[in-house]
Every structure is written in structure tokens, then in C-alpha cells.
């Protein structure tokens, strides 16, 4: 055992292991370093994806060709989707904050399989490189949309195979992370940490891990089949050979709908951590939130057809999927009620993470309610493939997962880097970002209802006004984001140093030094009956 006290021991950032410098990071099996590796690589990919989004918005500033033609636009939105979905929001919270904080929150020294954890990140990098290679050489950037629908996905002349293969490898990364987290939660909880004493973020990571494990193989094999179709003409989805393109859609969405729960469940978990901390009050309805989490994960598996209402399914299937879609909204609503109830009569501390959490609730609700619109069969016929859907999912995914990510980033920043961010700039950044977000996406609801289709580089003159507002909104949003990013980067180096628990939170990560030492705990904590993740006085 070590002879130096835990305070004097080098923290995980300074620790010198077998390798030094960059190699000490890319060969590190320390879950905290791996979490940061994911953070930096994902931030880079987010900037690429955001640039593509800005390019799209610039094209849509005016009808007709502004800066790109239809083919370029199709490639742009395809890449924007592939990058944002497969490289940013799906790995998202689990890969960064799950990796960093899951072991600490359950009182463990690392995950169950640290080397597998590192392999997951290497697979992530490999997947990213493969997808990027699709642009750099070959017959042209994929233009199918991130959904790779058959039969176009095997008829398009663009360079689909590296992109498909990259997505497959990224899926592997996701599966291995899910596997690792499941075993970690089952086997490495510290003494006294019963399932009923686990923090809610950990519960959401558990539910998410099951989805990662069980849903990702579905898209994996589906993409392999598309590749085989391109290479060997097997005919599985090709109508000319007897295949059914709608079957492709079924298989694609059997993964991709649960995937959105991979995106949002950890986000909901983070809000469940932030709200009690900044209300200094026990979460309202701990068990109800757990039940809702598991219900969302399970029912979320049964609703995939709501992406396909206009594709040509049977009436029975359409009714069934619409009904289940309405049901899955209920547990999310329960969570929102519980968060509000937690704040009621709490001792509110308005800090940056709290601002992100509250604005999350606002945008998540709007996104969720708009989901009921798209989930209704009759309404869906009008809004499918219009900007209404684009608004809906950006509110839920960007507003949901994105806001939660930034909230978590500020919440856990002092713990990860041992320094506090500049609070004034953080709040300014939040406000500008929030305003930009609303300006960018709100017009899209209206545009969609008026009939503006998505995935078109051109539009009718009557849609011009809304598009101008949205594009300006995108510029405001990116300004806010740059302020936030710059603040975080400078504060990581020069921010004021902090102690163990600047927010007076009750979960285990706030009992270790900021930044944590290599093995997190000097001695594995032992929880007593009176201890709990939300036991504020």
C-alpha cells in the first residue's frame, strides 16, 4: 500500500505510469483519462459536425443555390447526421461522464475491464477515421442521409462502404462500453451500496448499457447487409430481387429508436443529480424515477415504427406504434414532475449547472410535446419529413442531451480539473447559447407545419423569413458555444483551485480530492444505512 497520504499523492492528471507524455494517455487504462480522451475526441467531432450544420444553415439563408448545389448539400446533411449521432450524442454522456464518474460514484477504483475500456476508445477513433476516409478518397461523400435507406444505399455511386464500416466499428465501441458498465455496476459497488442507494445517474447508465448491448448489434448486422448488397447483390432489401426496403427501415429503426434513449437517459440522469444538489434537497420520488428509467428503456424498444408511418406498413402496425409511442411519453413526464417537486421548497443555489438543468427542462418539454404531435398518426402524415421533425429532434437531442452535457461539464468541471470555471463568462455563454438555440429551432416548427420539406437545399419563397431567423440563430448559438468552450479551456489551466465539494453534494465523487487521485479512493468506502446519494439535512 502507499505510504504517502492521499492528499499528497499525484492526482490522475499528473500520475506518471509506464508511458509518458501522449503515450501515457492513449495507452492509459485509467477510466478518468479514458473519459477525457473521449471528451477531447468528441469535442473535435462536434466542432466538425457543427461546422457542417452551420454550412447547411448558410445554404438555407436564401432559396436556390447559395453556396452549394444539391449533391453537396445531400453529402453535408448525411455527414452532419453521421457525425453528430454516431460520434457525438450516442457515445456522449456515457463515454465521457460515465467513464469518468461511474466507478467513483459507486465507490470503485476503476471499471470491471479497464483494458476493454481503452479498446472501446481505440475503436471509437478507428470508426471516426474510417468514416472520414469516406470523404477523403473514393467516388464521393455519402449522400444517403445518416439513415442509409435501401435501395438507394446500395445504388448510390458514392463511397458508402468505409462509412458503413466506420459506423459498424463505432457500434462495437458502444457495445463494449455498455458491457463494461453492466459488469461494473453488478460487481464493483462498494460495501453498503445497495441498488437502492445508487445515484440516479448510475441507474440511467445501467439502463442505457442494456440498450447499447442489445440494440447496437441490430444496426451492426443491418449495415453489414447493406455492404453485402453493394458488394455481392444478395437481394435482401432490393425490390428488384424480391427484397423489401421497408424491412430495412424496420431493422434500422429497431436500433435507432432505442439509440435515442441511449442519448437521453444519461442526460435525464444528470439532471437528476444537478437538481437535488442545487436545491440542497432530497430528490422527490427516487424510486419513481428508477421505475421510469427502466420503463423508458423497455418501452422504447417497442416503438420504432413511428419513424415509418408513411413508409407503407400495415394499418395494424401503425395503430400499434402510435399507441406505444404515447405510452413511452409518460415516464418522461413523471421525471419532469419529480424534478420540479424537488425544487419546490428547496434552497436554490443558482449556479451555471442549475441554469443548464432548468433550461433543459424547458426545451426537453417542448421537444417532448412536439413528439406527441409527430407520434399521432393523423398529424404525422402532414409533418413527416418536414422541418417540424427536424425541430422536434433537435429540441430533444440537442436541447436534451446537449444541454445536459454542458450542464454536466460545468457541474463536474471542478472535480475533473481541480479548478472552478469563470462563473460570469459561463453564465453569459449559457444565455447567448440558449437564445441562439431558441432562435435557430423554433421557426422550424412553423416552417414544418407550413410544409417545408427537410433534406432539400432549396425551398419556396414563402419559407424565406423563418429560414433567415434560423440561420441568424445558428450564428448566435455558435457564438455562445465558443464563449463556453474558451471559458472551460482557460479555466482548466488558470481557474481558481477548489476543494473536494464546492457544491455541497452528497454523492461519492465529492468525497475524493479535486482532481481525484489515480485509484480514486485510499480505502474503498463503506456505506451505512443512514448514507445516501441525496440525504441532505
Amino acid at each position: 500500500m502507499s505510504f504517502i497520504s492521499i492528499e499528497q499523492e499525484a492526482n490522475y492528471l499528473e500520475h506518471k505510469g509506464k508511458f509518458s507524455g501522449l503515450l501515457g494517455w492513449i495507452f492509459s487504462t485509467d477510466h478518468k483519462r479514458i473519459g477525457l480522451l473521449y471528451l477531447y475526441s468528441m469535442a473535435a467531432m462536434f466542432l466538425v459536425g457543427a461546422s457542417l450544420g452551420l454550412a447547411m444553415r448558410f445554404e438555407l439563408l436564401a432559396p436556390g443555390k447559395t453556396v452549394m448545389d444539391a449533391q453537396a448539400y445531400n453529402a453535408t446533411f448525411t455527414l452532419h447526421g453521421v457525425i453528430m449521432i454516431f460520434m457525438v450524442v450516442i457515445p456522449g454522456l456515457p463515454a465521457v461522464f460515465g467513464n469518468f464518474f461511474l466507478p467513483i460514484m459507486i465507490g470503485a477504483k476503476d471499471v470491471a475491464f479497464p483494458r476493454l475500456n481503452l479498446l472501446s476508445w481505440w475503436f471509437y477513433v478507428l470508426g471516426v477515421l474510417l468514416v472520414i476516409s469516406a470523404l477523403l478518397f473514393g467516388p464521393g461523400t455519402p449522400d444517403t442521409g445518416w439513415t442509409f435507406y435501401a435501395p438507394y444505399s446500395f445504388r448510390t455511386g458514392t463511397n458508402l462502404l468505409p462509412a458503413i464500416f466506420g459506423a459498424f466499428v463505432l457500434g462495437f465501441s458502444s457495445i463494449l462500453t455498455g458491457l463494461n458498465f453492466l459488469v461494473t455496476i453488478h460487481r464493483l459497488r462498494c460495501p453498503g451500496m445497495k441498488w437502492s442507494k445508487m445515484p440516479l445517474f448510475v441507474w440511467t447508465l445501467y439502463a442505457t448499457a442494456w440498450i447499447q448491448l442489445l440494440a447496437t448489434p441490430v444496426v451492426g448486422i443491418t449495415l453489414v447487409l447493406v455492404a453485402l448488397e453493394r458488394l455481392f447483390m444478395v437481394g435482401i432489401f432490393d425490390p428488384a430481387l424480391g427484397g423489401d426496403p421497408i424491412l430495412y427501415q424496420h431493422l434500422f429503426w429497431i436500433y435507432s429508436h432505442p439509440a435515442v434513449y441511449v442519448m437521453i437517459l444519461p442526460a435525464l440522469g444528470i439532471i437528476s443529480e444537478i437538481i437535488p444538489t442545487f436545491s440542497q434537497k432530497h430528490i422527490f420520488g427516487y424510486k419513481a424515477i428508477i421505475a421510469s428509467t427502466m420503463a423508458i428503456a423497455f418501452v422504447g424498444y417497442l416503438v420504432w415504427g413511428h419513424h415509418m408511418f408513411t413508409a407503407g406498413m400495415s394499418g395494424t402496425a401503425q395503430y400499434y406504434f402510435s399507441l406505444l409511442t404515447f405510452l413511452v411519453a409518460i415516464p418522461s413526464a413523471i421525471k419532469v414532475f419529480n424534478w420540479i417537486s424537488t425544487m419546490y421548497k428547496g434552497s436554490i443555489n443558482i449556479q451555471t449547472p442549475f441554469l443548464w438543468a432548468v433550461s433543459f427542462i424547458f426545451v426537453f418539454m417542448i421537444g417532448g410535446l412536439s413528439g406527441l404531435v409527430v407520434g399521432s398518426l393523423a398529424a404525422n402524415v402532414y409533418v413527416h419529413d418536414t422541418y417540424f421533425v427536424v425541430a422536434h429532434f433537435h429540441y430533444i437531442v440537442f436541447g436534451g442531451t446537449g444541454f445536459a452535457f454542458l450542464g454536466a461539464m460545468h457541474y463536474w468541471f471542478p472535480k475533473m480539473f481541480g479548478r472552478m470555471y469563470d462563473k460570469a463568462w459561463a453564465n453569459i455563454g449559457w444565455l447567448i447559447f440558449f437564445i441562439g438555440f431558441l432562435a435557430l429551432y423554433s421557426p422550424m416548427f412553423y416552417l414544418g407545419m407550413q410544409g417545408m420539406p427537410r433534406r432539400y437545399y432549396d425551398y419556396l419563397e414563402e419559407f424565406h423569413g423563418g429560414n433567415i431567423i434560423a440561420t441568424i440563430g445558428s450564428w448566435v448559438l455558435i457564438t455562445g458555444f465558443i464563449i463556453i468552450l474558451a471559458n472551460l479551456i482557460t479555466s482548466a489551466r488558470k481557474g481558481e483551485k477548489v476543494g473536494k465539494n464546492p457544491w455541497n453534494s452528497k454523492t461519492l465523487e465529492w468525497t475524493v480530492p479535486s482532481p481525484p487521485p489515480l485509484e480514486n479512493f485510499d480505502e474503498i468506502p463503506v456505506l451505512e444505512e443512514k448514507d445516501g446519494p441525496y440525504n441532505y439535512d
Binding site: 424496420h250 415504427g305 400495415s314 402496425a317
Partner: protein, 94 residues
């Protein structure tokens, strides 16, 4: 910490399971002689399910494992079953 129950399964058990599996295999072939029409698929699947049950329970040691592992296995098969079922809501009623 080794196997939870440190249970050593006798060789004979495995041999009996194999004999059962081979018998079921032969039966599943024999049954194709009978004209079952649309029940043929059900019969084939029934034999496959019983054989899988034998492999899972004895060869894969589930009989001697902790309950939560069995629960997970059942859960996953249930997910698969439900996926097929819901997909057929489309194809059966087109």
C-alpha cells in the same frame, strides 16, 4: 473466488444430454415425413427450442448458476421474441 457453488458436473450428465439432443435431431428429421402444412414451421421451431433449452441448461451451466444470470437470458430471448412479433404486426396485416 472460484465457481459459486463449485459444482462439478459428472461426465455422464453431459453424455445423457447429448443423447437427448441427437434423439431430438433425428425426430425433427423424421417429422418432415408427415404432412403438417403450416404447422411444419412450428414443429421445427419447437424441436429447436427444446434442444436449445438443453444446451443452455446443462452445457452452458445455467442449471447451476445464480438466478440473475438465468433472468438475463430469459429477458434477452423475450426481447428477441417481441421484436419478431411486433415486426409481424406489419407483415401479417398488409
Amino acid at each position: 473466488m472460484s465457481l459459486e457453488k463449485n459444482h462439478v458436473v459428472p461426465y455422464k450428465t453431459y453424455v445423457f444430454v447429448l443423447l437427448g439432443l441427437i434423439t431430438l435431431t433425428l425426430l425433427s428429421i423424421a417429422i418432415t415425413e408427415i404432412e403438417l402444412g403450416s404447422l411444419a414451421v412450428a414443429a421445427a421451431l419447437a424441436f429447436a427450442i427444446i434442444k436449445s433449452f438443453l444446451v443452455l441448461t446443462w452445457f452452458m451451466h445455467l442449471k447451476y448458476d445464480k438466478p440473475y444470470i438465468i433472468l438475463m437470458v430469459v429477458f434477452v430471448f423475450a426481447v428477441l421474441f417481441v421484436t419478431v412479433l411486433v415486426t409481424f404486426f406489419d407483415y401479417l396485416y398488409r
